[in-house]
Subunit: 506 residues, 2 copies
C-alpha cells in the first residue's frame, strides 16, 4: 500500500527540519567567528563550516526528497495555494529543482572562486588596484552566467540569479520600478543639494560615551520590541543579524564615540531584522511556513524600524528627552528639531554603507545597472570602473577619486552575490508601502510613537508579514497586505513628506 | 592488490579527523550555551547537540574503521609502541572496541536517564530531598553495572567505568594509592585543625573590584603562558576549559568582589588546562598523538599551575607588588607573608569545590569509596547519605547538617559519571610528581618564579607531557617523565613542605 500523503509530508518535514538544524549550527559557527573567535583559528573554522555545508548539500539533494515531492505534487495538501502545507511543498520543490540543476563541478568552482575572490578583493581594495581584482570579476561573472544557464531562464540570465535572493521576482519588474524611482529621486536629491538649508551635523559628532550608547541602544531595541530573552546584542566590525535557533536571534552593531547615529540606527536596523525572525512561527522553524520570504522583505523590516520609525519626528518626541538625559554633554543644550534635521541629513556621498535614506537607493541603482550589464555581456569588467564613475556623476553629481572609494568598496561580487544589491532598495520600497498601510489601519502611528507605543506596529507586522512565513511570495504579500503591487510611489511620498519641509523645497 | 598499510592508515586518520571536526563543532555549541546563549533556546540547543552526537556515534562505529584497524593490527606502523602511528592504532582500536560492545539500547537508556537524572538532581538538591534523587542513583548505578558488564572486566566492574576517564588505569592501583594518601593526610589535616596558628582570611574578603580582577587574572594567565592569540577568557557560572579547535582554547572563571581567590586561582586552574591544550601538536589535532591522555593528566596541569605555582611563596614574591598596585584598597597595608598564609588556609569544610589544596583529596576519597561500594552492590543507594556523613566525620571531623551540603552537592552521579571523581586526586598526585622532577631538572623553579620566569616550566611541560599526546598511557608517562610509578609521596612532601612551617607543626 502506498504511504499516505500525510506520512510522506511528515517525512519530508522531518528531513528538512534536520537539515535546518545543521544550518542553524552553521549559524552558530558564523556568529561565533564574527564576534568571539580568536582569528588564529580562522582556517579550522573554515574546515568546520565546509564539513557542515557538504552535509547540508547532500541532504538537500537526497533523491528521497525528489520522491516525496513527486508524490505530493498532486496531493490535496498542495491544493490551497497559501496554506502551510502547499507553501512547504511549493518552496521545497523549487529549491530541490534548483539544487539538482547545478552541476557539482560548477558549485565547487563557484566556492573556490568565492574564497579566492574575497581575498583578492580585500588586497585590491587596500591597494586601490582594480587591475588586480578585474580577473576575478571576469571569472565570477562567467561562472554566474554558467549558473544562470544551468538553472534555466527565459532569455534573461539575471532572472535566474536574482531568484537566489528575491525568489520569483523578475528583472523586468525590478528594472521598471527602480527606473521610476530614479526618475523622481535624482531631481529630488539635486534640489536638496541646491537648498540653502543645512542641518547642524556637528550635533551628532559631539562626545557620546560608548557605554551609554550601549545601554541607550538596548533600551530603544527593547521598546520597539526586540526580545532580549530570546536574543542578544553584541558588537562586530560589520553589523548583522543572525538566527541561531527558534529562540536565539542575535544582532550586532558598532560604536563610534563621536558619531552617534551609526550605533543607534544600526541597532534599530538589525533589531528590525531580529523582530522579523522573532515573529516567525516557531512551530514551523526550519520549514517554509516558519521562514522569511526574501532578502527584500527582510530588509523592509529593518529599514522600516530604522527609517520610517527611527528617523521620524514622532519617535524623537518620545525619545529625545531620554537621549538628553543619557547624553547630557552632547545634547543638554540641543533642540529637538535641530537634532531631527541632523539625523535626516541628505547629501550625495561615495560610500554606500554610509549613505542616507534617500541617496542610498541611487547607490543601489548604479550597482544593479552595472551587474545587469556585466552579466548580459554588455559591459566588460575592464570598463566597469569608468562606467561606475560615470553613473555616480550622473545620478549623484559626484565622482570617486579612486576605485577604493568607487567600484572596489563592496565585497558582494567577489563571492558571487550577483542579484543581491537590488534587494536593499526593494526593502526600502516594501517598507514604505507596508508602513503607509499600517499607518492607515492602525489610525495614526505618529501619535503612538510620540507616546512611546510601538507594540501596535510590531503586532501588525507580525500578523501581516512575519507569521505568514513563505506562504506568499514577496509580490503576493505586498498585494495581499497593501492592495497594491510593488511601486516606488510610497517611498517617494515618504521621502518628499519628510524632506520637502526640512529643506524648504517647493 | 591490497591497499598499502600507509593508505589504510591515512584513510583511518582522515575519517577520525573529520569525526573530530564534528566533535569540535559540538564544543562550539557547548561553549556558546554556557557563556552566550539566551536560556530560552536551551531545548533547541539540545536538539542541535543530539543531532551531532548521533552523527559522531555513527562515524565512530562505522564498520570500515574495524576493517582498517584489523589490517593495521599487524602492520609495522603499529610496531614501535610509543610512535605516533602505533599510538593512533592502539588508542583508536581500544575506542572502537568499547563503542562496539555497548548495545545501542543501553546507550540510549543511559542518555535518557542522564537527562532526567540531572533535572531530578537539581530539584532534589534545591529541596534538600535525597528521597527524590535516590531512585535515580539506583537506576543509574544499575545501568552502569550493565555498561561495565557489556564492556567486560576481570571481576571489578569499576575498572571498566574508570577507563572512560582514566584509560588503562586500574581500580586496585587507584585504591592503593588513595588509601596511602588518606593514611598520611587525615593526621596532617587533624594536626592543622589543632594548631593555634590561623591565617588572616579577612585579607581575602576585602573589596577587589571585578574589572581589576579581570585584568589582573588576564595578566597572570598571560605571564604563565596561556596564549590569548589562540584563546579567550570569559565568565561563566561554573568555570571550565574547552577546546574548540587547534587554535581556539577557551577558559572561563567567575568573580566575587569580596573573595579574591576564586577568580584568580580559578583562572590559573583553567589556564593550566588551556596551556595543555595549546601545547598539543596541532598537526595531529583530532588524532591520538595530538590529544590529551586522561582526565587525571589534564587535571595535573591545571592543579600544578594553580597550586604548585600559584600558591607558592615564590610566585607571590613576583606578583604581590603587582597585586598591591592593582588592589590598593585591599592590599596596600597587607604583608606578603600574611597574604601567602591566607591563600594557603587549610580547614575541613563540607563543599568539595570550595575545599583547599589539602582537604580536597579527602572529599574525593569519600566519593571514590562510596561509588566503588555502590557499583559493587556493597552499599545500597538508600544508605548512601548515612555512609557519606559517617566518612566526613571520620576523615574531616565535620558532618553535613543536611544532604544538600552532603551527598546532593555534586552533579556527577546524576548523569552517570561514575569513575570520574578519582581523576581529580590523580591530578594532584601527578602534578606533585611532575613538579618535583621539573624542579630538579630545571634547577630551582622558585627562583625563576620569583623573577617572573614561567616559560622554562611551561616549555618543560610541553616537551615532557603535552607534545607526547596519547603516545603514552598515564602510567607510562609518569614513569617515563619522573622515573617513578604513581605514588602519594610527592604530594605529601609538597603539602608538608608548605603546611608544616605555616601551621608550625612538628
Amino acid at each position: 500500500m502506498a504511504e499516505s500523503d500525510q506520512t510522506v509530508f511528515d517525512a519530508l518535514c522531518d528531513h528538512t527540519r534536520q537539515t535546518a538544524t545543521l544550518a542553524s549550527i552553521e549559524s552558530v559557527l558564523g556568529w561565533d567567528e564574527r564576534t568571539q573567535m580568536p582569528s588564529a583559528n580562522a582556517e579550522y573554522r573554515a574546515e568546520q563550516m565546509t564539513l557542515l555545508s557538504g552535509m547540508i548539500h547532500q541532504r538537500n539533494t537526497d533523491p528521497r526528497v525528489g520522491d516525496w515531492l513527486a508524490q505530493l505534487a498532486e496531493s490535496p495538501l498542495a491544493a490551497e495555494p497559501h496554506s502551510d502545507t502547499a507553501a512547504t511543498i511549493r518552496v521545497l520543490q523549487r529549491k530541490f529543482e534548483k539544487q539538482k540543476k547545478l552541476p557539482q563541478a560548477l558549485v565547487e568552482e563557484l566556492t573556490r572562486t568565492a574564497v579566492m575572490g574575497q581575498q583578492t578583493w580585500q588586497a585590491a581594495r587596500e591597494k586601490d588596484d582594480y587591475a588586480q581584482f578585474c580577473p576575478i570579476v571576469e571569472k565570477m561573472f562567467e561562472l554566474k552566467r554558467q549558473q544562470a544557464d544551468a538553472l534555466g531562464h527565459d532569455g534573461c540570465r539575471y532572472d535566474a540569479l536574482l531568484d537566489d535572493f528575491e525568489p520569483e521576482e523578475s528583472t523586468e519588474n525590478v528594472d521598471r520600478v527602480l527606473r521610476s524611482l530614479r526618475e523622481e529621486l535624482v531631481p529630488l536629491v539635486a534640489a536638496i543639494a541646491e537648498s540653502s538649508r543645512r542641518p547642524p551635523l556637528e550635533l551628532l559628532k559631539r562626545r557620546y560615551p560608548i557605554e551609554t550608547q550601549q545601554s541607550f541602544g538596548r533600551e530603544v531595541a527593547t521598546q520597539i520590541g526586540f526580545d532580549f530573552a530570546r536574543g542578544r546584542l553584541d558588537e562586530s566590525a560589520h553589523p548583522f543579524c543572525n538566527g541561531l535557533g527558534p529562540h536565539d536571534t542575535r544582532i550586532t552593531t558598532r560604536y563610534d564615540e563621536h558619531f552617534m547615529p551609526s550605533a543607534l540606527f544600526g541597532t534599530m536596523h538589525e533589531a528590525g531584522h531580529g523582530i522579523y525572525d522573532q515573529g516567525l512561527r516557531t512551530e514551523w522553524y526550519g520549514l517554509p511556513p516558519g521562514s522569511y520570504i526574501s532578502l527584500g522583505i527582510h530588509e523592509s523590516q529593518s529599514r522600516m524600524w530604522e527609517n520610517q520609525v527611527g528617523r521620524s519626528e514622532a519617535f524623537w518626541r518620545h525619545f529625545f528627552p531620554h537621549a538628553q538625559r543619557a547624553f547630557p554633554e552632547a545634547l543638554a543644550d540641543a533642540a529637538r528639531d535641530e537634532f531631527y534635521f541632523a539625523i535626516n541629513n541628505v547629501e550625495p556621498s561615495l560610500i554606500r554603507v554610509e549613505a542616507d535614506e534617500a541617496t542610498y537607493n541611487l547607490h543601489i541603482l548604479i550597482r544593479f545597472e552595472l551587474e545587469l550589464a556585466l552579466i548580459e555581456g554588455e559591459l566588460k569588467p575592464a570598463d566597469a570602473p569608468a562606467a561606475w564613475n560615470e553613473k555616480y556623476r550622473e545620478y549623484l553629481g559626484i565622482e570617486p577619486k579612486n576605485d577604493a572609494e568607487g567600484i572596489l568598496q563592496d565585497i558582494h561580487w567577489s563571492f558571487g552575490a550577483v542579484g543581491y544589491f537590488p534587494t536593499y532598495s526593494l526593502g526600502n520600497l516594501y517598507a514604505a508601502q507596508f508602513f503607509e498601510k499600517a499607518d492607515e489601519q492602525l489610525g495614526g502611528l505618529a501619535d503612538q510613537f510620540a507616546r512611546g507605543e510601538f507594540a501596535p506596529l510590531r503586532q501588525w507586522l507580525q500578523a501581516q508579514i512575519h507569521e505568514r512565513g513563505e506562504c506568499y511570495t514577496a509580490a503576493e504579500l505586498v498585494r495581499e497586505v497593501t492592495g497594491d503591487d510593488l511601486s516606488h510611489d510610497a517611498l517617494m511620498r515618504h521621502l518628499r513628506g519628510k524632506l520637502v519641509p526640512l529643506y524648504d523645497l517647493s
